[in-house]
């Protein structure tokens, strides 16, 4: 299994505050990764470190085994990056933007980019400044995919799009994945959209990795337990409580545990990705015990 993104004790300090610290993750190639966490959690910092836009203060990050700051040519020709503000030149036509892409990238595929935009009915002679938000995002995506990357990093690409534009954007992205091989890292607050397309998650909170792993593994090991309050705490060995809420008689626990370790006397149900993310976000100190064979996370 090859590793697309590997961070080892990665940290970035801005003045007196750490934007990201002790970040260690291993993202297998071919995954579609949801990068989630509250604002200021370090998502953009991690993406900027990955493409070498900022220098690490501690540790390092490698893409397909190469550090972006040591071998930028090797790394960046294989990586597409779409920054949060969707930087395009408003006075350029769509065709001009593609020309820019062609001149700046060795592995450029003009026909892929043009076919994609024609299918979406985006006129190539239209000025970028006159496109809708959804069309701008699609042009930026076509530029990032036109270089035929092995890895594409997208920083909140859905933030300003209406539901239809989001659907079309993600449809285009998934189409490229199925034509693959392509690894995707996608940061967003829209958990419903992420649940649909992603199969891996990295959750940052307060500049730290709080949880990471494949969605199948995470879904199988996270549960909602409801039971009598008196029982809370009994038979809970090997179970990590992420969040608890106690009523007069009843307790509700958000836990991480192997299904066979679940205690008797509790009503257990599975957690949706949204419930899981919310529970972790609300409890920044909840950090699962490390199982490196599954996650490669060092707290």
């Amino acid at each position: 299994m090859s590793v697309a993104v590997e961070a080892a004790d990665l940290g970035k300090c801005y003045g007196a505050t750490w934007g990201l610290r002790h970040c260690s993750i291993q993202v297998p190639a071919g995954r579609i990764v949801a990068l989630v966490g509250p604002n200021g959690a370090g998502k953009t910092t991690l993406l900027h470190l990955a493409v070498g836009l900022v220098q690490a203060t501690e540790g390092g990050v490698r893409l397909f085994g190469w550090a972006p700051t040591e071998a930028p040519d090797l790394v960046l020709s294989r990586v597409g990056f779409l920054a949060q503000a969707v930087p395009l030149y408003d006075s350029f036509s769509v065709a001009d933007m593609l020309q820019v892409g062609r001149r700046l990238n060795q592995r450029w595929d003009q026909s892929v980019a043009e076919t994609r935009l024609r299918r979406l009915h985006i006129p190539l002679d239209r000025r970028v400044g006159r496109l809708s938000g959804g069309q701008r995002a699609q042009v930026a995506l076509a530029l990032a995919l036109g270089k035929k990357p092995d890895l594409i990093l997208l920083d909140e690409p859905l933030a300003n799009l209406d539901p239809l534009a989001r659907h079309e954007f993600l449809g285009e992205l998934m189409e490229s994945v199925s034509a693959g091989p392509l690894t995707v890292v996608l940061s967003s607050h829209l958990i419903g959209d992420l649940e649909r397309v992603c199969d891996y998650m990295v959750l940052l909170n307060g500049g730290r990795v709080q949880v990471s792993g494949s969605l199948d593994d995470l879904t199988a090991t996270h549960h909602l337990l409801v039971g009598p309050r008196a029982e809370a705490g009994a038979g809970m060995e090997g179970i990590q409580v992420i969040k608890r809420s106690e009523g007069e008689r009843q307790a509700t626990l958000w836990v991480r545990a192997e299904p066979r370790a679940l205690p008797g006397g509790w009503q257990a149900s599975s957690l949706s990705l949204e419930q899981m993310v919310l529970a972790y976000m609300a409890n920044p100190d909840a950090r699962p015990a490390v199982r490196p064979e599954l996650e490669g996370v060092v707290p």
């Binding site: 579609i32 659907h167 079309e168 993600l170 449809g171 285009e172 992205l173 998934m174 189409e175 994945v177 199925s178 034509a179 693959g180 419903g192 959209d193 649940e195 649909r196 397309v197 992603c198 199969d199």
Partner: protein
């Protein structure tokens, strides 16, 4: 034109791969998909419904396991020879038209879709109980 247009319901709580597989099963059940018909490619489905490609593969594999489709590497996924419709095309059309008429008549009287669905279920279950008794 595609024989089957998939759609996904995010709030139903039914896993996406099950929803996709169910829609194929339904298509076969109603005779809209016949033995030998090709299902949309994974690439076509993910572009249409914006879902992870593995979700579509999982749905197709499950259908193959159930003997409803055959996946031929390099050429596509096809409805299996043994997959038969529960009712023929003509009868399907007739019942569908009657049901559409019933829905239109309810809506014209200001009944919402949720109530219509509940009413249909209620009457169907009532009939089933009569059948048992």
């Amino acid at each position: 034109m595609a024989l089957l247009i998939f759609h996904l319901e995010p709030r139903s709580g039914v896993p996406y791969y099950v929803q996709l597989a169910d829609q194929v099963r339904q298509g076969i059940h109603f005779g809209l998909l016949r033995p030998g018909d090709q299902l949309p490619t994974v690439r076509e489905v993910v572009a249409e419904v914006a879902v992870n490609p593995n979700t579509v593969l999982r749905a197709y594999r499950e259908l193959e396991y159930g003997g409803l489709v055959v996946m031929k590497p390099g050429s596509g996924t096809f409805v299996a020879d043994g997959a038969a419709a529960a009712i023929d095309q003509e009868l399907y059309g007739l019942l569908r038209r009657e049901l559409e008429h019933w829905i239109d008549s309810g809506r014209a009287r200001g009944v919402d879709d949720e109530t219509l669905a509940a009413l249909f279920d209620h009457v169907l279950h009532g009939k089933q109980r009569e059948g048992v008794a």
